[in-house]
Amino acid sequence: MALNRKIAYIDLSTGQIETKPIPVEMRKKFLGGRGLDMYLMYNHIKPGIDALSPDNVVFVSAGILGATLASASSRTHIGGKSTLTGFVGSANMGGFFAPELRWAGFDHLVLKGKAERPVYIWIHNGEVEIRDAGNIWGQTVHDTQQIIREELGDRDIKVLTIGPAGEKLVRFANVMTGLKDAGGRSGMGALLGSKNLKAIAVRGTMDIKIEHPAEALEYNKKIITQVTSAKVSQTQGKLGTPFIWGATNSQGLIRVRNFQLNQLENADEVEPEALEELAVGMAGCFGCQVHCRSKYIIPEGPYAGVYDEGPEYTSQGAFAGEPGCRNANTVLVGNHLVNIYGLDNLETGSMIAWAMELYEKGILTSKDTDGLDLRFGNDDALIEMVHRIAKRQGLGDILAEGPLRAADKIGKDSIKYLVHVKGMSNLHSDERATPALALGIATGSRGADHLRSRPAIDLYHLPESVLRSIYSQPVPYDGPLSSDYRDYEGKPWQVVWQEHTYEAVDCLGICKYHTIFLGATLPNYEEWSRLLYLNAGLEMTPLDIWTAAERAYNIERLFNIREGLTREHDWLVDRYFDEPTRLGIPGVRGRTIDREKFKKMVDEYYEHHGWDEQGVPRPETLQRLGIDNEPSHML
């Protein structure tokens, strides 16, 4: 059955491997994927440890519906204490790794300790083996996967790996699979690197029983129609995620020149339609009919002729908007470099854009940059800095430490120009005109991030009645809701709702583009309840799923509080409150976030969660969720 996949506990220091089944009651409480990882994390990571020490633990998982007919059941979750923020580390990626892990008999991997020398893990039909990685240490993300396939003699092996950036402990290094599937944010790549763990290779031919096959097939067809009939999915299937960058840039919701502007003007060459012309086709992750991944060949320069996938809208942000560049080739090359080095494109772009602003202000000089002319709009300097970060050379070595540590090293007024939450750089978007989105990044459990809680449909001016039909299920809500994305009222509930919803999605192991993220008509709790029953035989109501997600999100909160998180961490940098937006459509221009109103939003957000005014879950909240005795060490 779909629920018989196991947990493997792998001690890299001793070589000991133990496997355990996952009791159904734990499934009902935390489902799988990110949710169960968070439970394991709270139970297995001791408080206050150094994130780069052998005491930290890596968690790798598939969702409870991974590899089933849940439509795009492809996602892999990677957890651990963040090497960047010291709070929750959590990364999620598409591709084909998680389904293969399930076919190989496992849902969760818990990797402890530190290997004496570089190793990789080989998992095959219930067997786990630790193998020497001497010959792949130092190899790129792409080459590592090919070398392992050749070494083990099976071209269908799926590999999760770090690139050179993870080995060099760049605090925003990714875990990667395939060409561009990126477990990004929070530096999980550095965590693997600190353990001398280069990669995990999986291959499986074990059955995952589908409980009600005929109905599951029929229902999958219905979901596919529901997803692919949405205009947003069709646009994404044609333009990839760059369409989001294009749509938001046209309004003035994009971070440009670090945080100086909110729109990239004269950006024709990096608009989604321009990038589409350079694409040679589209590809999909496992089981997905949206196929949002562009395939491309770099047209010019030293990398001309190289094949890669992407770029995502995050790469447009990193290699166009934030550094103020306007060259499609730069976006494609930058995207390729973060793919092969295994770097978080958002953090990389943000760090370089910040350094460019410091260079402009004279806080960094050409002496600091070893002669590199690090001004905004200098494509060559931008690309060169990517290499230097990945290799930790010169200024790159400082930037590789992430925002707060780098600001500490550079000193002067550098911190004033930093755009971060909880020590993680903000993504490429500008939220000064959108309080709901601003609250989402300020409170997200892993730092400034759009994939934890962003109520993206808030940008669509949906009628209040539509918003109400969405946001009052599966728990009732009769408070205010507003169709105007510039409003503050009612938005905290939307953020809480999306937080639980994305947590649920990450527990199920499906893609957010198949759920209520960018499209208001896409599947949510009702559909997931049906999918769980038909595929896994698990009977859970929409409310049960919501509660499991809420439980997991509260565990994340508990983890963060245990690591020293306070109310001050759920906040934005001063620039959001003090520097008005200068560009964009009339409704977006001249906007800042209002401090007092934002404070009230945070209060409301805590209240909806059942947390006190300091953001600590109230005892009755933990009791209601049955997590008042954590860590309970059930697994």
Binding site: L69, Q145, L179, I208, T228, G281, G287, Y307
Partner: protein, 165 residues
């Protein structure tokens, strides 16, 4: 006229949903190892080629079978397996030039595409149309039109080039 599966690998996005629905339909499980169709990938080059039974008119599997377990079903234009007669010798697996007859290790029997008795799910679920189930006579017609379109484009360009000389 019976229909055939037509595969256009240029349209394939490599998602492998066909493998999933095939194994669920035939075995009630998610397991590509038991699927009758397989996407062969050159992942690092972005090439994905769906491989399945061609339902050959003169089928090597049928010819090699020592117990006549494989036969032609003219109504659905397919080669079918009589599992009561099959002795599991895997000669058919050995001779198929496309690798389209597989041996299911778990089910301990050979497996091959049966066109889902006339509603092949791989085609049904493939939104991008990389796998289509069409009238046998249309297979070449569509290709003819595409090729002719390319040819006529070239001829127009040539004509323009000549007239501008």
């Amino acid at each position: 006229m019976a229909k055939v599966l037509v595969i256009d690998y240029e349209k394939c996005t490599g998602c492998r949903l066909c493998e999933l629905v095939c194994s669920v339909k035939h075995e009630g499980v998610s397991n590509p190892a038991r699927s009758r169709i397989k996407i062969v990938k050159w992942e690092m080059e972005g090439r994905y080629v769906p491989m399945s039974c061609q339902q050959c008119e003169s089928a090597p599997c049928q010819a090699v079978c020592p117990v006549k377990a494989l036969s032609r079903d003219e109504t659905l234009n397919r080669v079918i397996v009589d599992y009561d007669a099959c002795i599991g010798c895997r000669m058919c697996v050995a001779v198929c030039p496309f690798g389209a007859v597989g041996f299911d290790v778990l089910g301990k029997r050979i497996i091959k595409c049966d066109l889902c008795d006339g509603v092949p799910l791989c085609a049904d679920f493939c939104e991008v149309g990389a796998i289509q189930y069409v009238d046998a006579s249309q297979q070449s017609t569509t290709k003819q039109v595409t090729a002719a379109d390319k040819l006529s484009e070239i001829m127009q360009k040539v004509a323009q080039a000549i007239s501008s000389v």
